[in-house]
């Protein structure tokens, strides 16, 4: 604080003016009280008062405290432990014939599990990957030796609708995969985006075959 004491007259003027305004405003007796414990060192006065330190320290402390309290009040809105605990499911896919697909639910979201026909696999592999909006091969999206099992989230990457094409008789879109009726996104047989507003391919969740016919998602 000793440096503060010696602050030169450049900074002095506005501060003195401020103090004067305060004095005039407060009741006369009260003003005397403030003047005496204002942190003014002697009659010369100074640009920065000791009390400024108290003000800054107190307000900063309150600010840090408020931020510390705000954190739990915001974080309580994120997924709770019981929601995160529903992380994985196991699905028996033995009954799904080539060309068929099922819908199941994982983390409260639809999942499509499709058993691709050889023709669909061939069609997917025919596409020039470089021409795709979200370049991925079918092999990138399936497990080695199990290329016929295409497992994706049934959530359109545009705005989250459930695309059609999994159940029998549903529209499969111009590329024979999935079609989102909300805003007209077309996905191909590898569930890659080909046409429409969606930016990305249908997401492939983490999954693994734990036996020949049982797949664990998540």
């Amino acid at each position: 604080m000793s440096t503060v004491k010696k602050t030169k007259s450049t900074a002095k003027k506005p501060a003195v003016k401020k103090a004067a305004v305060k004095k005039a405003a407060a009741a006369p007796v009260a003003a005397q009280v403030t003047a005496s414990d204002n942190g003014h060192h002697g009659a010369e006065g100074s640009g920065v008062r000791r009390r400024d330190f108290i003000h800054i320290a107190a307000v900063s402390f309150a600010g840090v405290g408020a931020a510390a309290v705000a954190m739990p009040l915001v974080s309580q809105m994120s997924a709770s432990a019981d929601v995160l605990a529903l992380a994985s499911i196991e699905v028996d896919v033995a009954a799904i014939q080539p060309g068929q697909a099922i819908k199941t639910s994982w983390r409260k979201q639809p999942v499509f599990i499709r058993n691709l026909t050889p023709a669909e696999i061939e069609e997917a592999n025919k596409v020039d990957v470089g021409s795709l909006r979200d370049p991925q091969t079918l092999a990138d999206r399936t497990k080695p030796g199990k290329e016929n099992w295409l497992i994706t989230l049934g959530v359109c990457t545009h705005l989250g609708c459930v695309p059609l094409g999994a159940a029998a008789g549903e529209v499969k879109g111009e590329y024979g995969g999935y079609f989102c009726p909300c805003h007209g996104s077309h996905y191909d047989t590898a569930a890659r985006i080909r046409k429409g507003p969606a930016p990305l391919n249908l997401a492939v969740p983490e999954f693994a075959f734990i036996s020949d016919t049982v797949v664990k998602i998540g």
Binding site: A27, P28, A30, A58, P72, S75, Q76
Partner: protein, 430 residues
């Protein structure tokens, strides 16, 4: 409103001026809790508790809104949803413990606030309306706290709801139908839980509204002060900001230290373990007591054990159950009449030797005893003690205060607040 020497709000920048001409909200704040509100210069720390009560309400509303995001009012799910908040929701334990203890701390600061009003005669003219609104807030708080306590649907919640709504069945003729109307059934169940949740969410905002009226009414005569002497000149006051914003800020810091210490280190100190048992409509807990802040009133309820009738005739005029309920409500409603029961023109207890004796050696011990007895099982010695204390409570307000006001010779009052503070008389020019 306020005193002629109150500072006027002067908007500085063009934006402030533009806003001030269209919606003078900053001006309102400036005049309410800013430099535009002159306050007696001699307020002690008891005058912090109004602001603290306001902060406590804000804490309850903020944490309560968060809890309502995770709670569901269903007899099958309510208890589990509270446990879900405690175990699964991120920081949920903190928010719930803050809300739970926040209620207790709200009552602590409000009781000290009421104590301040009782001792310093803050209820007297011209501040009667502030007092009446304050008692109204207190009643609303009690209703809100009770309904909130029911929501976790534990054993104490359920049986608390059963007992409190049972009060209404004491009313002759319409009692039982009224109780069924309030509960939406024959016993507390889904209908009661749902409406309690709805009202528990609503009432805090009603309280906030009445608080605005409370502060509005306060700003007509201005704050009272420890001497009880009215403000006479500018010398007697200082602007609310920065003098009392700083003092209230300091008091708030101390308050939060206590609040946080209990919330983190003894969160269940003020609660009952029985409320961690899910509600069971077929089994009452061995010892059922309300939360600590209701204990004095609970003791008054339990103190009435004998029917009131004409002696030796067997005619019962008022059954004991009804007497207890009337007395319990009466003990609070009584406070509405306080400004007219205490007729002494001297406000502060400092200058009232006789009043002060009855206050410290009569009223305060009486309330302590009632609080203590309220938490005790209904054995004879506690019941007798409650009866004596309850009798004193009513006698204090209805008999002693009016008589004391008449016969007491008050000490000489200082001529002004400034004189009381500085010991020097006010200059004649002022």
């Amino acid at each position: 409103m306020s005193f002629p020497w109150a500072q006027e709000y002067k908007p500085q920048g063009t934006v402030s001026k533009w806003v001030d001409e269209r919606l003078p909200l900053p001006r309102l704040v400036y005049n309410a809790v800013g430099a535009g509100y002159p306050v007696p210069r001699n307020l002690n720390y008891f005058w912090n508790f109004g602001v603290l009560a306001g902060v406590a309400l804000v804490i309850q509303i903020v944490t309560g809104i968060v809890l309502a995001m995770h709670y569901y009012a269903s007899v099958d799910g309510a208890f589990n949803s509270v446990e879900h908040i405690m175990r699964d929701v991120n920081s949920g334990w903190f928010v719930r413990y803050a809300h739970m203890n926040g209620a207790s701390f709200f009552f602590i600061v409000v009781y000290i606030h009421i104590f301040r009003g009782l001792f310093y005669g803050s209820y007297k003219a011209p501040r009667e309306m502030i007092w009446l609104l304050g008692v109204t807030i207190f009643l609303l708080m009690m209703a809100t706290a009770f309904m909130g306590y029911v929501l976790p649907w534990g054993q104490m919640s359920f049986w608390g709801a059963q007992v409190i709504t049972g009060f209404f069945s004491a009313i002759p003729l319409v009692g039982e139908p009224l109780r069924q109307l309030l509960l939406g059934g024959f016993a507390p169940d889904q209908a009661a839980l749902n409406r309690f949740f709805s009202l528990h969410y609503l009432l805090p905002f009603v309280i906030a509204g009445v608080i605005i009226l409370h502060i509005w009414a306060l700003h007509i005569p201005g704050s009272s002060n420890p001497t009880g002497v009215s403000v006479k000149s500018e010398q007697d006051t200082v602007p609310f900001h920065p003098y009392y914003t700083a003092k209230d800020g300091f008091g708030l810091g101390i308050f939060l230290i206590f609040f946080v210490a209990v919330t983190f280190f003894a969160p269940n100190m003020l609660g009952h373990p029985d409320n961690y048992i899910p509600a069971n409509p077929l089994s009452t807990p061995a010892h059922i007591v309300p939360e600590w802040y209701f204990l004095p009133f609970y003791a008054i309820l339990k103190a009435f054990t004998v029917d009131f009738g004409i002696p030796f005739t067997g005619i019962i005029l008022i059954p004991a159950k009804l007497m207890g309920v009337l007395a319990m409500f009466g003990s609070i409603l009584l406070l509405f009449f306080l400004p007219w029961l205490d007729t002494s023109p001297v406000r502060s207890g400092h200058y009232r030797p006789l009043f002060r004796k009855f206050f410290w050696y009569g009223l305060i011990p009486c309330i302590v005893i009632l609080t203590y007895c309220g938490g005790k099982p209904p054995y004879t010695q506690w019941v007798v003690l409650s009866q004596i204390a309850a009798a004193y409570y009513f006698a204090h307000f209805l008999i002693i205060l009016p008589i004391v006001s008449r016969i007491e010779r008050p000490l000489p009052l200082p001529n002004s607040i400034t004189e009381a503070v500085t010991g020097k008389p006010l200059p004649a020019a002022a």
